[in-house]
Amino acid sequence: MPVFSNASRNPVITRSCRFIMTGLVACSCVLATCGRGYRFDLSIDFSNASQWRYLLGVDITGSLQGESGKQSLNGSARTWLQGAISAHDTGIISFTTSGTRIQSNFLDENEMADIENRFSDMSLSFSPHEGAVYLPDTARIPVVSLGGWDLCRNFIRVIPILPETPVTPGATWDRERQFPLSTTHGSAIGHLFQSFRFDSVRTIGDTTRTAEISWLFTYRIEPVDSDTASLLKNFPLTGEGQGSASLNLTEKALLRADASFGVSGDSTGIAGVLWNESIHMELVD
């Protein structure tokens, strides 16, 4: 800049230049902390886990095209989740369910009571970098899901997986998981593929900042028992969905998460099967 050629000879101009340069550097720092290029640590502070109480709600609607026309079903589950650090692994948060209520237009009273009883003291575990942690013992059959309701799978779909290193807004990360499935018509493997994105940073009030995360996912079922695979193929074997979550960057806690998932019935067997899930989880205390 031409002004510098004579700056050393004029003390007033020298001070002005220094003031301008300092101001430019300060502005650069401010711009950087506004998210352009600044990396955020998307992590959870487990030390407060015992104070977390969430409401988890799942709504399922489905329909079936039958001989006599279209039949519809719906089911809703609402349960409280109380957090705690897992006794088995300090890197895992365990939530214990309580106060579960089930509503449905087709399950009878005994079946709804059975699901509520099974959910009355259930544990759902979550690792920030693994997502929902399913039962480790693959030899156990998921008895809860036999005609009942597998809350673990709803939980898997609504919980985001966080990146292991600090990331900038716009960053993406993927995750692929497989689950053994044991059904009445043979065994299968569920393939879940999730693609996450750190969308933005929001400021709430004066001091709270949240990271907004979204993701897309697909879920594909692969029958593995050759003698029964043809039976399972009567049902649609793929579904897709999307989710979003808000993470409190100040308190380092998950504030809320939502997911929707749908299956449409393109199968060689049963016609017109539609299945939609809507899952919501919210920190209430």
């Binding site: 095209q65 036999l146 569920g190 099967v273």
Partner: protein
């Protein structure tokens, strides 16, 4: 350590429901269950001689065997399951039947189910039940196994016996009454002989690709004696919403 737990006997004073006795048996059953898990590689043999309250889910692991003696009442406190992956022998007599029910549930009660049920799970699981009474369970489940039920009673359950995943239980001279479903079969083939299935909402419920081998059974006096659902056959549009829910929950 394995030797110390062979032939564990559970006994109590013949006065029966003394609180100290029942507490002892509850604690002992819990300890046994915990130790079976800890020493999973060591086979454990347990014999139950008298009334026992079970206040936690119990599992007989693969390789372990439990025997329940005639006249014993196994009573569940809370919504509990009795999971059998090993061997369970429960052979009562006509004078001293073995009872599986819930604490404070009167015999013949029509209240809603009070415990989850007996679950016999896996190809290597086995059970021999004679003169046993199963009451007040949500579902007594047979999954992929072939236990034997002879001269048994199933009353006041939601599912008296629910057979799944190629299970072939032998059910002989048993009585199913006042259940929502007497016997349900989902991709299973229970062998039924000389049974009385009456006063149930549904006597026998055959779901998709199930075959019950029926011979000389009395299936009468139910709201629906036999209900079949065969959407995987010629009529693919006869699938019920209930069955769609079950399969979709298992898959998704």
């Amino acid at each position: 350590m394995a030797m110390a737990f062979d032939n564990i006997a559970i006994n109590s004073a013949k006065t029966g429901y003394g609180p100290r006795c029942m507490f002892f048996q509850i604690v002992l059953v819990a300890i046994i269950a915990l130790l079976q898990e800890s020493f999973a590689k060591e086979p454990v043999s347990v014999t139950i001689y008298s009334d026992t309250v079970i206040a936690t889910d119990v599992e007989i692991p693969f390789g372990a065997s439990w025997t329940i003696k005639p006249g014993v009442r196994i009573l569940f406190e809370g919504y509990r399951a009795f999971l059998v992956r090993g061997l369970l022998i429960a052979e009562g007599t006509a004078e001293k039947p073995i009872i599986f029910s819930a604490v404070d549930r009167a015999s013949g009660s029509r209240e809603k189910p009070s415990w989850k049920g007996m679950e016999i799970v896996g190809k290597q699981a086995h059970g021999k039940f004679r003169h046993c009474r199963f009451e007040g369970a949500f579902r007594n489940l047979v999954w992929e196994s072939s236990p034997e039920f002879t001269l048994c009673e199933f009353a006041g359950n939601h599912y008296g016996l629910y057979c799944m995943r190629k299970a072939t239980p032998h059910i002989k001279a048993c009585r199913f009454a006042r259940n929502s479903y007497g016997i349900a079969a989902d991709f299973a083939s229970p062998l039924l002989l000389d049974n009385i299935i009456t006063s149930n909402a549904v006597g026998v419920y055959l779901q998709l690709s199930s075959k019950a081998l029926l011979g000389r059974n009395t299936i009468t006096g139910n709201t629906t004696d036999i209900k079949e659902e065969e959407a995987f056959g010629e009529n693919k549009s006869s699938l019920s919403l209930q069955y769609m829910w079950k399969v979709m929950q298992q898959l998704y």
